[in-house]
Symmetry: C2
Subunit: 195 residues, 2 copies
DNA sequence: AGAAATGTGGAGGGCGCCTCCGTTTAAATA
DNA sequence: TATTTAAACGGAGGCGCCCTCCACATTTCT
């Protein structure tokens, strides 16, 4: 129906546009890392040496900017799942992946918004990122269930939500330890009864 | 050291002050219920037919207002703990209390801020509410551990954080079911190994 | 080079947070 | 009751963030 060659007028994307987009993402990474999410978008624009208007043309909303930033890291996380399932037994694979998820959260210190954007929110629905993340953990858990290692009564994403809760709501520096303990607790709870 | 009769100059608190405080709390309940937390404080003041300055004198911060609102409900929750420990076996007592915690969350639909204020945040440190909540769940878990029903590797508050994560980050209407399943999963994970 | 499309920048409107301080009003005192 | 005292009031206004809009600049295409 819509053959590529005819549907859209061909036009090379402007060089400055792409350059600025890249600068913005880099600037946002830096600023958010320093000041936590919730830092002013104006500041991001300043850091990128770009007008605020430019920022808003490239990224309609704060969420759009955030997902753009973390898309790459999340893709890495998602891609890691199949590899882990090959290399490890189902349970260790799941555990390892959850640990990597914690690593990911660690770099986003305190960015509650990021989390809800990714696993709760409505925004990720556009990008489909949320679904991919869901697929990854669903695959890991299904794998473990098939092998008889787990019983699972809940939506796999809820595991991430629980971990996220611990990560977000634990004040201070030691949330990581709590998160890891939570992972082991959850895994133990899912372990199939031996009766 | 500080006998009541001498330490403070006696002065009846002004009637209008107390009245306005009450009006503000009531107004805040209403407005937050309608518009979710994050509603403008100015609107709360308007609803209470009071100047914005008055609101800020009674409640230094948004958090202070929020904790004042929910203080009562939380007290109820906290008070329920000892009773449950008397009436039920340790494990069912803990479970029941966690379910009541979910009920509490239910009335705060989507108020992520409330949660972090209560179990994560810095604000509750002033009021001590956070500590009381912590004491309640610590008592419940300690009770179960003493009776040999549980092994516990984590800070009891983390249980609430995990549940809170599920509650906050699950979109739609069905988070309650998820939260309950999470409770059972956590309990199972904490169950002492029978080896 | 000239036309057309695309991108830029930042002023400015809107909004919510919170402070400050001149005025009002209740409680204590005479 | 009249006066004094200090607690409480209220809302204008400063601040900072969000986002839109559009006259102007730059790039690509012909």
């Amino acid at each position: 129906m819509t053959p590529d060659s005819f549907t859209k007028p061909p036009r090379k994307p402007r060089a400055d546009g792409e350059r600025n987009r890249a600068r913005l993402i880099e600037a946002a990474r830096k600023v958010f890392a320093e000041k936590g999410a919730g830092a002013g978008l104006e500041q991001v624009a300043r850091e990128a040496e770009v007008g605020i208007g430019t920022l808003y043309r490239h990224f309609r909303s704060r969420d759009a900017l955030i997902t753009s930033i973390y898309q790459q890291e999340i893709d890495t996380l998602i891609d890691a799942a199949p590899a882990l399932m090959n290399e490890l037994e189902p349970l260790p694979a799941l555990r390892e992946w959850l640990l990597q998820f914690v690593d990911f959260l660690e770099t986003k210190q305190g960015m509650a918004d990021v989390l809800s954007t990714l696993i709760g929110g409505t925004a990720a629905l556009y990008s489909g990122t949320s679904e991919c993340l869901a697929h990854a953990i669903e695959a890991l858990t299904a794998n473990a269930v098939d092998e008889g290692a787990l019983d699972l009564d809940l939506e796999p994403l809820d595991l991430l939500r629980a971990i996220g809760g611990v990560a977000n709501l634990t004040p201070g520096e030691n949330w990581r330890q709590s998160a890891v303990q939570m992972i082991d607790l959850l895994l133990k709870g899912m372990q199939r009864d031996s009766d």
